[in-house]
């Protein structure tokens, strides 16, 4: 009887904790959005966030999608050859990268890189009272820290994903031409003609949503970081884990929506 009660208590507690966390994130999100449209705007912060989030993520995103495109070419070839459909490699790669893997891989890599660094930076500012100092200097921390980063990530991710798409298709192309004896011109023509505008748009919209999630989670966990270095460490981990999960979950929902 007692064991049963404590089981219910545990389940109840964690359910409540989860609801509370969802509520807090929702509140944080709506506060951020409400500050996006109200001045003052911190342009410098936005530009520097754009640089760190967008530009400096290029190598990571490029390498990831390049190798994935290459591996995908081999896999699809070996799968396709079972029913004599090897020729479909360029088309499947194009659609797979542009609609799915480009944005998702970009999102996940940026989640690891950017949401961790945002959470660590903002968390450190929280525990060293820099956020309190911002408030006393009449600067709203949401406006100064969260809004520029969230906006920059939302703008940067589609661009990164677009670059990732091109490089991913190039990865498939290189393997296709070098290893699988595709003709270069045919490969490119097949990739290009097969894609529709909606494929590209839907992938980029996804990327924008992932960017929003990544920066929002970084800022949220940073600002709610506990005191001390271990608090910042925990905030960083939570930011990466929660943004990765949210990216994959929202990816499914968005795919269902565009289906």
């Amino acid at each position: 009887m007692k064991a049963l009660a404590s089981l219910f208590a545990t389940v109840g507690r964690s359910t409540l904790a989860m609801c509370a966390a969802i509520g807090q994130v929702a509140i944080f999100c709506s506060i951020t959005l409400s500050h996006v449209i109200r001045p003052p705007f911190y342009i410098r912060e936005f530009l520097s966030a754009l640089l760190t989030i967008g530009y400096f993520s290029l190598p990571v995103v490029g390498l990831t999608t390049l190798f994935t495109g290459g591996a995908l070419a081999l896999q699809i070839y070996s799968g396709g050859s079972r029913f004599n459909a090897e020729a479909v490699v360029p088309q499947i790669i194009a659609i797979g990268i542009v609609r799915e893997l480009g944005p998702v891989l970009t999102g996940l890599m940026v989640a690891g890189r950017v949401s961790a660094s945002i959470a660590a930076e903002v968390g450190t500012m929280k525990v060293t009272e820099q956020i309190d100092a911002l408030v006393t200097l009449s600067v709203n921390p949401m406006k100064y820290l969260a809004v520029p980063r969230v906006l920059a990530a939302t703008v940067a991710l589609p661009m990164l994903a677009a670059v990732g798409n091109v490089i991913g298709i190039m990865g498939g192309y290189l393997v296709g031409v070098a290893r699988l004896d595709f003709s270069a011109a045919v490969y490119l023509r097949n990739s290009w003609n097969f894609l529709e505008a909606a494929d590209i748009y839907s992938g980029l919209v996804k990327a924008a949503v992932f960017g929003f999630i990544v920066a929002l989670m970084g800022c949220y966990h940073g600002m709610s970081s506990d005191r001390g270095a271990s608090g910042v460490g925990r905030a960083t981990t939570n930011a990466v884990v929660s943004s990765s999960i949210l990216i994959l979950a929202s990816n499914y929902l968005l795919t269902e929506l565009f289906f």
Binding site: Y42, E129, A133, T136, L137, S138
Partner: protein, 248 residues
């Protein structure tokens, strides 16, 4: 000018402030003393709205601060945080001039830098420090940059959280003189937290001792040495024995 009435604050089970009543008049310098962890910093943060008290009222010029407009209210204050709280991403002069570079008191960059250099000079830092980053400074230098930032816009009310800890005795003397000067010349109202009794005597008009979540003693600095309060006596004389239990 600033009045706290029965202010209470607990963090979980930790009852930090248990009914603080204190009043500071315009142009007066109040020094708060008290053991480590008694809630001195929390008290200042309550006034600045960084910590929301569980109950009690805080009045500025007789008006409840909960009704005040955030930006206008905070523009009247300067705050030196206990650990300086400099912005890592900005260099020294940009830290000092933070408020002069944005918002309503914004001015041209050159002018802002000029003012920042002047404030740095007043806390004993030369122009060569202006372009360093906070991570390149020593603890005492950081504190002084924090001090320069707190006074940069010449606010009417300034809070100093341990302005002289981590400074050598000579520099501590300079800072004490500076705080005295700011109160005298600019007519600012100051609340200073310190553990340094020399500082107390140099800065204070009024002294308040916080212990066990309440103001145990408050009075003019000249009465401090003759006051019979045993808690105050133990604190001033630095005795290990007395009504305040030091765990060993």
């Amino acid at each position: 000018m600033i009045e706290l009435r029965d202010v209470r604050k607990a963090f979980g089970k930790n009852n930090v402030l248990r009914g603080v009543d204190v009043k500071v008049a315009r142009g007066e310098s109040l020094v708060i003393i008290g053991g480590s962890g008694t809630g001195k910093s929390v008290m200042l943060k309550c006034v600045l709205g960084l910590v929301r008290p569980d109950s009690g009222t805080i009045l500025l010029d007789g008006k409840d601060i909960r009704l005040a407009k955030g930006d206008e209210y905070l523009a009247r204050f300067g705050m030196l945080f206990q650990n300086a709280a400099l912005f890592d991403s900005l260099n020294v002069w940009q830290n000092v001039a933070f408020r002069l570079l944005r918002g309503p008191s914004k001015r041209p960059k050159r002018k802002a830098r000029e003012i920042a250099l002047e404030k740095l000079r007043r806390v004993g830092l030369g122009p060569e420090t202006a372009d360093l980053y906070p991570s390149e400074l020593s603890g005492g230098m950081r504190k002084r940059v924090g001090l320069a930032r707190a006074i940069a816009t010449e606010p009417e009310i300034i809070f100093f959280d341990e302005p002289t800890t981590g400074l050598d005795p000579i520099m501590a003397g300079v800072i004490n003189d500076l705080i005295r000067e700011i109160v005298k010349e600019m007519g600012a109202t100051a609340i200073t937290i310190t553990h340094d009794m020399a500082s107390v005597r140099a800065i204070a008009d009024m002294v308040a001792m916080l212990h066990a979540g309440v103001i145990k003693w408050i009075g003019p600095v000249r009465e401090m040495d003759t006051a019979p309060d045993p808690f105050l006596r133990q604190f001033i004389e630095g005795n290990a024995e007395g009504p305040i239990k030091a765990l060993r």
